[in-house]
Amino acid sequence: MNAPAGNPAAVLDCAHLVRRFGDRTAVDDVSLRIAPGETYGLLGPNGAGKTTTIRMACGLLRPDTGTVRVAGLAVTTAAGPAKKLIGFVPQDVALYPDLSVRENLRFFGRLYRLSRRALERRVDEVLDLIELRDRAGDRVDALSGGMRRRLNIGAGLVHSPTLLVLDEPTVGVDPQSRHAILESVTRFGEEGMAVLYTTHYMEEAERLCDRIGIIDRGRLVAEGSPRELVALVAERDRVRLSAVGDLASYADACRGMARVEGTARTGDHGEVVELVVKDARSLLPDLLDLAHDQQVDIRSVEIDEPDLEAVFLHLTGTALRE
């Protein structure tokens, strides 16, 4: 086993991670650290590099350059001991549908070499935690989607990890199950577990995370607590214009205005233009005049206080869910 190195206080210490797939750089010089009991959110749109980053953090993918240490243990050279400390919850439900709930938990627990007695005790604890004790004997393929999601998380907890890595655990989950999952993650943090949580839902990151890293096109563009990040755009407002017309040209024209710092088209059919601007109230007449000149029919205008969505727009020039 390697002697612990790096920052011993950090449960996870990723330094200058780079990973390329052919010509494409999926992760470009990403560094992040997570302290014990801290919940760290990796926030970014689909394809930003979140999953690649956490696959490197869990030892599933070898970085081209850079290092990953878990509690000081290098994941590449001390894979066994380091991996023992990690609980991995993949984005898609990764369970055996033809085994029962209990059999799944037992199997994943055995991979971490828990003794028989410790395993049985821990399986019962996890069943209580994910509220599936009464369905313990049921096959996974008989469970609802929400129950499977909870079990998916439970399988990552059965060996009592020091670091829990969750890759977008609420994608495609009904509101009730989503609430339950978020409650559980909050509790893990409170119990002292370090959590790395990836999401593209801004409100989840805001609610759960002590610190957030914003990742875009493989690069970590900002990092801090939600408050610190929002402070980056404290002087700015987010303006949402629902309109009809050639919105692409209109958004381009807006981008050229002096106090506009980011534009994006959102909505199901691109019918919304979002802007991050300085002093929205004084700029609004100019935006409406421009719309008139371009024969764009503005249907509604919303001006919001800055939030993480605005931060993302400000930092990347694009909306989080574009």
Partner: protein, 389 residues
């Protein structure tokens, strides 16, 4: 080791819950072996029910009937008498007898008088071999009678007195032609059909395990559980070993089931149980290697299924799982030696004919081991090439 066993136990549990796997590896080979045993009556004995129509009623016709009922043929030929040709024809057409011999009126007289009165054999397309036997016995008998006549005539021509003709004829009748057809029972250690086709069908269906194993790997990859295992402190070697153990146990269980049922229920016999066990173990190891090869060669579940099917059918066709090796061409017999199942069947055939120990299974075990080693080597090279850094 605990992790290896955990992975193997999990895989086996999943397979035992898969009904199709039960049917293919356990039920189907037993059923097909049973059908083959029934079809071949589980032995290789040859029987011929021959009808005889005696329109001659002379000593020559009686002699032919006596030959058919002789002790030499009693285990092979069963004789039934019919009053006329049409009755015999109906019996042959109905399958009550396999063939019928019609001895014409004047047969005895023709033999003594030098005229012709040919014996007719009524046959059926369903029992060609029995008809051939009837013809052969008849021809043999007529040839014997002709030889007797010739020898007596030769003696008379050489000056033997006419009063000695009956004595000469009696002496001639005791002589036999230097070559004649004799039906003999098969030896006690003849290969029983079930002793060959039991393990043969067992191997055929166990080779399908290659497809199950390879597909299972890609299904796990698709459902993300392989990643989950890789995220745990489980080495690549432990993962592969665990999966190999489950494939080995499953294959061995399939072969053991078929050989045991063939032995206990259908009377299969092999001279050396240890030899049977050794061949079964070797084949199970080979199935593991083939599974790994398919996994190394393909990328998806569908490709795995396709390649495994091609591989299985190529092996069983070349290896002789559907026909006795003796019934194939020399080329096929030679090609069978490039297949593990061909070698195993050679071993089972020897064991089924009473050969024991190393003499029966030595070469087959080496053949299977060589095949498995070659497959394992290719697999290792492919996996090394495919490994992502």
């Amino acid at each position: 080791m605990r992790v290896v066993l955990a992975i193997a136990a999990k895989d086996l549990r999943q397979r035992l819950r898969d009904r199709s796997a039960w049917v293919i590896v356990f039920l189907a080979p037993v059923l097909i072996s049973a059908l083959m045993a029934l079809a071949f009556n589980n032995n290789s004995e040859f029987r011929a029910n021959i009808g005889v129509v005696d329109l001659d009623h002379g000593p020559a016709a009686t002699g032919l009937t006596q030959v058919l009922n002789s002790p030499e043929l009693e285990d092979t030929v069963h004789v039934r008498s019919y009053g006329d040709e049409s009755a015999a024809r109906r019996a042959v057409d109905a399958g009550r007898v396999h063939a019928a011999i019609v001895v014409p009126e004047g047969f005895t007289q023709a033999l003594h008088g030098g005229t012709t009165a040919p014996v007719k054999v009524l046959d059926s397309v369903d029992f060609g071999l029995q008809a051939q036997l009837a013809r052969a016995v008849t021809e043999s008998y007529v040839a014997q009678v002709n030889a007797d006549r010739l020898s007596v005539a030769t003696a008379v021509a050489a000056g033997a007195p006419q009063r000695d003709v009956p004595e000469l004829a009696a002496k001639a009748a005791l002589l036999r032609l230097p070559e004649e057809v004799r039906a003999e029972g098969l030896p006690d250690d003849a290969l029983k059909v079930i002793s060959y086709f039991g393990p043969s069908m067992g191997m055929f269906f166990v080779l399908f395990t290659v497809g199950f194993g390879a597909r299972g790997y890609f299904i796990e990859q698709q459902q993300g559980t392989l990643d989950r295992i890789a995220a745990a402190p489980v080495g690549r070697g432990a993962l592969l070993l665990g999966k190999s153990v489950s494939t080995f146990v499953y294959s061995l269980a399939g072969l053991a089931t078929v050989t045991l049922v063939s032995w206990l229920a259908f009377g299969a016999s092999w001279a050396d149980p240890l030899g049977v066990a050794a061949l079964s173990v070797a084949m199970a190891v080979c199935v593991v290697c083939l599974t790994a090869l398919v996994i190394a060669l393909v990328r998806t579940e569908q490709q795995a299924q396709g390649l495994a099917s091609i591989l299985v059918f190529a092996l069983v066709l070349l290896g002789g799982n559907f026909v006795f090796a003796s019934g194939t061409t020399p080329l096929i017999r030679r090609l069978a030696l490039f297949t593990p199942n061909g070698w195993a069947l050679r071993g089972f055939t020897d064991l089924g004919t009473g050969v024991r120990g190393w003499a029966a299974v030595g070469a087959p075990l080496l053949g299977i081991a060589a095949f498995s080693a070659a497959v394992a080597l290719v697999t290792a090279l492919l996996l090394r090439l495919r490994r992502t850094p």
